[in-house]
Symmetry: C2
Subunit: 296 residues, 2 copies
């Protein structure tokens, strides 16, 4: 049984708990949360503010804290010899994160798998595989329809916004429409807030529609999707066409992929990896012969 | 530059030559063909009946001979220290092939990647990844519309058949219709041949339609497709939906995947592998940092 600790217990942390409970080869040692948020969750597990307070030392920490906290949090676990899995999603800095965690993992004899989850993560493996199928050509990743957490957070940071939601609508060839719903604090004008949002770097380059909505909660649906398309050349044959499409509960998929990578982490040599650097078979439960016979 | 030799020079061998020529990190050392078929092909490459007759020792042999010849042919190269890539497609015996080639590769300090290509091969990686996304559920692999080489060969083996073609039509949930076209030798009756084909183990369990056709060549189109569908459970969330669809020139895709695996083979430790046991990044040309930045 692979011993797992969950670090952070928001939406993703809760979904990771469900995915670990569903995995026959894993057991949960506990949950690590910051001291100031230790309103103990209703779970039959040890909840601590430091992993060293757990009676059993976990083999893998699944990190469910915000992306910006990941580099420091991961280093702490890795140097203690505990593998880390994160869903760090700041695309421009993924290589830097991998390079920062690599020496910590080498030092601790541990493994980091960075930027797992939906995208980056599962989509990354598909993009890499599609390039192996057709080295020359173009790939487009089309997201949605579904909630964009990053865009929603960006709107909530605008002064005067009480609650918000940003929905991503795919228009094809990697172009997206943003549907933004905002509720306002007293004393703020919708037109002013809308202008600010349209000028934000998250929205400036996309077709953005902004609506006033008192009841944001009535719109919440964690379903999401991707339609990832490559058209290219295999050998000298043009017009090779590849499509990956998924329609999923986003926190459930993200956490399931993190759990699959937790399993893979105990099979790798010490160091830091992205998902495209890991054999897919290592993400699966079962013995090698049975998996090869069934899946190849 | 990775030094490649092509073994066998039928449709796949020719397509492999094109894919190697298109790869910037590879060079062709020559072609190995059986002595009795040494009607030298019109290529600017050494053509020999034994790899040891080549001036340059290749690092990887891409095997384009029939599946039943692969175990013995591959062993010969592996024990000489030359990696092998095959597209062995007898699904029931893939594990046995891997197990047979593993000691030969260990002995020769070489690497075998078995059963690469379309299916088994690329589809296998997708099937494995979809199980990582949703461990519980069902996967269906739907082939076509397109030519089935295996089924065509089975018909050609029937006494009285002059020429034949079998087309696979997907009916969904892994069920297929077979469209069979036959031209007959003089003195044979269509009804008798059709009855024999319907009773063959390749066709017995499928809805099979058999047509008489004088001009089989007029129907040839090497385009093929797959629609690979999984619906299952991530964590505790049901109804997660995943689809992989491709529409491709089949020999071009098969050979491109073999070439990608040839590249991956020089990065593995000695031994025998299936595609799901290899990191996808190893199949791609380019340095690790650039690939991670672009694809993850």
């Amino acid at each position: 049984m692979i011993k797992i600790v969950i670090v952070g217990f928001g939406n993703i942390g809760k979904a990771v708990m469900e995915a670990v409970e569903a995995a026959k080869d894993m057991e949960l040692c506990g949950i690590v949360m910051r001291a100031q948020s230790l309103n103990k969750p209703q779970v039959a597990l040890p909840v601590v503010d430091d992993v060293q307070r757990l009676e059993v030392k976990p083999e893998v920490a699944i990190l469910c804290t915000p992306s910006r906290t990941i580099p420091e949090v991961a280093e702490g676990f890795l140097t203690q010899g505990i593998n880390t899995i994160d869903s760090y999603d700041i695309h421009n800095n993924i290589w830097e994160l991998r390079q920062r965690l690599n020496p910590a993992a080498q030092k601790g004899g541990s493994v980091a798998i960075v930027s797992t989850g939906f995208d980056p993560g599962g989509d990354s493996v598909i993009r890499a595989l599609f390039e192996a199928f057709a080295p020359q050509g173009q790939t487009f990743t089309n997201f949605g329809p579904g909630m964009s957490l990053g865009h929603t957070v960006a709107i909530k940071a605008v002064e005067g916004v009480k609650d918000a939601l940003s929905i991503t609508i795919p228009l094809g060839t990697g172009v997206h429409r943003r549907l933004v719903y905002v509720d306002l604090l007293d004393g703020y004008k919708f037109e002013d807030i809308a202008a600010k949002i349209k000028d934000d770097s998250y929205f400036r380059n996309d077709e953005t529609h902004i609506y006033f909505e008192k009841n944001i909660n009535s719109l919440i649906d964690v379903g999401h999707g991707v339609n990832l398309v490559r058209k290219g050349v295999s050998g000298k044959a043009h017009n090779q066409q590849f499509v990956f499409d998924m329609r999923i509960n986003n926190p459930a998929l993200t956490s399931q992929v993190m759990v699959a990578c937790a399993r893979a982490s105990v099979k790798q040599n010490p160091g830091a990896y992205t998902m495209i650097e890991i054999p897919v078979i290592d993400m699966l439960d079962g013995n090698r012969e049975e998996l090869v016979r069934r899946l190849v």
